[in-house]
């Protein structure tokens, strides 16, 4: 699965962006990259920051090892 990776500047600009009850929230992958799913690119709730989202790097998702 492909996800979007943010560098620290992109993360700080986008993290927590909210449109009503629709919010952007990055998580960390196994390599401690800030990542978010690609579906944010087509969500009209995030149209205000779509250009910035489109600038994020596409990488393959490496989930953190699951804890129990």
């Amino acid at each position: 699965m492909e996800v979007l990776k943010a560098n620290i500047q992109q993360y700080e600009a986008l993290q927590g962006f909210a449109n009503g009850n629709h919010i952007i929230d990055f998580s960390l992958d196994a390599d401690d990259n800030y990542i978010i799913g690609k579906q944010v690119l087509t969500d009209d709730n995030f149209i205000e920051v779509r250009k910035s989202l489109q600038e994020l790097e596409i990488i393959n998702y490496k989930p953190k090892e699951e804890e129990i």
């Binding site: 629709h22 919010i23 952007i24 929230d25 960390l28 799913g37 579906q39 087509t42 709730n45």
Partner: protein, 259 residues
């Protein structure tokens, strides 16, 4: 003249009684939020859900209830009917008209239900959660979780050899919920949790520990586990008897089959 007045009053009286007051409150809240309401026909069906839950004594057992399968918009779908608040959609979960909400990627929903502070009926040793979900692949995973694992939250996984939790540390289960439908997890006392899906029932020994100070999340568990499934309903409540679960299933299935 008198006849005309009488008919007019009669008509007003009927219009006031159109919906149950709790369902009307949902519609009024949605209107105040600017949400797209369900169609007129679906409003009748949703009103019947509330009436049926009340008739079976289930409405007053709930602390949270969301009905995501609707022909209203996604913002209507995110209303908690018991608390009249909006659940929060993180990272664009996918909404399909009448199909509910899908996870995928890093999308999840914050129900804003923290059992340690928000619960009235959901108690440490008398608690439950019901969801209606679609079928999924064996890799389908988290349906309900918390940001902190083993912190007394709700954990439901749609997965072979899954682990679960309810006001406790996690415990292994054999219930995989792979057939979807109505899934229930109930803590019936301080030492036992009952899991019931469409294809079986399992009682697990698990000591209760604490209620959760973090909200129940749909499609997310811990820092990095996300679910790819589909959800149509969510509720947090006091525990159900087996008959109450069957009654609940009938009410929800009747609605879902009608939309």
């Amino acid at each position: 003249m008198r006849l005309g007045l009488g008919l007019g009053l009669c008509g007003k009286r009927f219009s006031r009684k159109k919906f149950d007051s709790d369902y009307q409150a949902v519609l009024d809240f949605a209107t105040s939020e600017g949400d797209t309401l369900p169609s007129a026909n679906q409003q009748i069906l949703q009103n019947q859900v509330v009436l049926s839950l009340k008739d079976k004594g289930l409405w007053n057992k709930k602390d949270a209830f969301g009905l995501f399968a609707t022909d209203g918009n996604v913002d209507f779908a995110l209303i908690c009917w018991k608390r009249l608040i909006k659940m929060t959609a993180f990272n664009s979960p996918s909404f399909t008209t009448n199909g509910g909400i899908d996870g995928g990627g890093t999308a999840y929903i914050d129900t804003k239900f923290k059992s340690a502070t928000d619960a009235v009926n959901y108690l440490l040793n008398d608690a439950g959660c019901s969801v209606n979900v679609g079928t999924t692949t064996p890799s389908g995973d988290v349906i309900v979780g918390n940001i902190e694992r083993n912190d007394g939250g709700i954990r439901i996984k749609q997965k072979s050899n899954a682990d679960s939790e309810l006001n406790s540390f996690s415990f292994p289960t054999t219930t995989d919920y792979q057939n979807g439908g109505n899934l229930h997890i109930d803590r019936i006392n301080s030492t036992q949790v009952v899991l019931k899906g469409e294809d079986g029932i399992e009682t697990v020994t698990s000591n209760s520990t604490t209620l959760a100070s973090n909200p129940a999340l749909i499609f997310r568990l811990g820092g990095g586990s996300y679910g790819n499934g589909n959800i149509k309903t969510f509720s947090a409540r006091s525990s159900f008897t087996d008959q109450e679960k069957n009654d609940y299933n009938t009410i929800i299935n009747t609605y879902l089959n009608a939309i």
